[in-house]
């Protein structure tokens, strides 16, 4: 039974990394298409559009952080796997869900907002600072999810 516990915990780490990473991949992909569109006509805007393209990339990093914390908690990063009960394993899985799910949704949404912001930079490069704020707003919810996942994983005793 104790082996099933660690499987659940590992599944939690996988969910955090996989879903948040997928969200970022989608987001950076969408923003990247928009950035390429602008670059095709105006290569001088490279630096500005690159920054906007990278904004949706953070969700993947948040998922990675939770993945690391979880792996470290269950001893898979050194010292050997610890004994995790099924209940604790499920708790860890639940704790990983916020960043996984919110990371996926916010990553894609932030990518679309970044693409729209790239449109602003294409027409009005002097409005870059303001344009960056719109996709940055979406980041708030990824950070909130990261916070809850981090607190929850850290609070679970194994």
């Amino acid at each position: 039974m104790s082996q099933l516990g660690i499987v659940y915990a590992l599944l939690g780490a996988a969910v955090a990394v996989f879903l948040a990473g997928a969200g970022s991949a989608l987001g950076v992909g969408i923003a990247g298409q928009a950035a390429s569109g602008v670059m095709a006509e105006d290569p001088s805007k490279f630096a500005k559009v690159l920054i906007l393209q990278l904004l949706p990339g953070t969700q993947g990093l948040y998922g990675l952080i939770i993945g690391f914390v979880t792996l470290s908690k269950i001893g898979l990063l050194g010292g050997g796997p610890v004994d995790v009960s099924v209940q604790t394993g499920l708790l860890i899985l639940a704790a990983c869900l916020p960043i996984g799910i919110v990371g996926l949704i916010s990553g894609k949404s932030q990518g679309k907002t970044a693409a729209a912001a790239i449109g602003i930079v294409a027409k009005k490069p002097d409005q870059f600072g303001k344009a960056m704020l719109f996709p940055a707003m979406v980041e708030t919810y990824a950070i909130l999810a990261l916070l809850i996942s981090f607190l929850a994983v850290s609070a679970i005793q194994v």
Binding site: I30, Q33, A34, A35, S36, G37, V38, A40, E41, D42, K45, K112, A115, A116, I118, G119, A122, K123
Partner: protein, 323 residues
């Protein structure tokens, strides 16, 4: 098609929108002392092929070509844009039928930047291979060809093909998933019907003639429009004031050129929200229409300058710009 497929294309269009002519530039063009100064100003804005020759017609042709090149490169699905070349395609058919039936050859009467080039169209008509034409074009081509051969009535031939073009545009609009294409088709057909009604009223055409020329659409009842046209210009204005084309009725009262101008301005107003759309085909379609409108306006200004029109007379005819 998934609207995200257009992300690259829309961003590219956004970058290009920055170089569209604004109302201020159009004002500058109108205020220029002559055609040469206008062409210089346009060349500074990147118009033409970058050469030193300042030929107005060549410059406008190059700009039209550039617009379609951008659309061809950026759009993931070009079928959406077929509807915009229908006017040229049907014009080619009309010209080819007339050339074959009258056995007279003229230079430069065909458009080559559409599905079937002039040469190809001429071959199709000469060999009567109408089945090679797309959609419902074969029926219209056969009808127009027979009509011209039997009656020698060029206008009737034009009417048959123009109506077929309008019906084809409307059919594409009805089938399209994109709202902007539906709106374009609806407006194009309705405005064409209104123009037919106005011209028919002025030239005293019969209801049968109008019925042959007008195409059905949703926002205009052609039956009522035809009856109004038979009664007089005031009746047309009165009928239009009860439709979504009420401002057109007012323009109609002012002058024919004011009405033409209103038609183009209305189209620009319809597409203007696309400036704030970051996905979907809308901004691409809007760019294409905006460029065509821009080129048309520049052509009006240049023609006005060539013919020594006053700035005021030209200003009356210039269209609103998209940006």
């Amino acid at each position: 098609m998934n609207e995200l497929e257009y992300t690259f294309a829309v961003a590219r269009i956004r970058a290009l929108e920055a170089s569209l002519l604004t109302d201020q530039v159009i004002d500058q063009l109108v205020n220029s002392p002559g055609e040469k100064q206008c062409l210089e100003l346009l060349r500074e804005r990147g118009w033409g092929d970058g050469g030193n020759d300042l030929d107005a017609e060549e410059m406008l042709k190059t700009e039209e070509k550039k617009t379609w090149e951008v659309i061809r490169e950026a759009a993931p699905d070009l079928n959406v844009f077929d509807v915009f070349s229908y006017t040229k395609l049907y014009h080619n058919l009309k010209a080819a039928i007339k050339e074959v039936c009258t056995e007279v050859r003229n230079e430069n009467i065909f458009y080559d930047d559409c599905e079937i080039s002039g040469e190809e169209m001429l071959r199709i008509v000469e060999n009567k291979e109408f089945s090679r034409l797309p959609g419902k074009m074969p029926e219209a081509a056969q009808d127009a060809y027979d009509t011209l051969l039997h009656t020698r009535d060029g206008q009737l031939c034009d009417v048959i093909i123009d109506k077929a073009a309008l019906e084809a545009i409307y059919a594409v609009g009805q089938e399209s998933e994109d709202e902007i294409i539906r709106n374009y088709a609806e407006s194009t057909v309705a405005i064409a019907d209104i123009k037919i009604a106005v011209r028919s009223q002025k030239t005293g055409k019969s209801i049968e003639f109008m019925r042959r020329a007008m195409a059905e659409c949703e926002s205009i009842s052609i039956e009522q429009l035809m009856k109004a046209a038979l009664s007089g210009m005031d009746a047309i204005s009165e009928y239009l004031s009860g439709t979504s084309y009420s401002e057109g009725a007012q323009a109609l009262g002012d002058s024919p050129s004011a009405f033409e101008r209103w038609c183009d301005n209305r189209m620009i107003q319809t597409i203007r929200p696309q400036k704030y759309n970051s996905f979907s085909v809308g901004p691409l379609v809007a760019y294409l229409i905006a460029r065509e409108n821009e080129i048309k306006t520049v052509r009006i200004i240049l023609t006005g300058k060539q013919n020594g029109f006053s700035d005021e007379a030209i200003r009356e005819r210039v269209r609103e710009m998209y940006v």
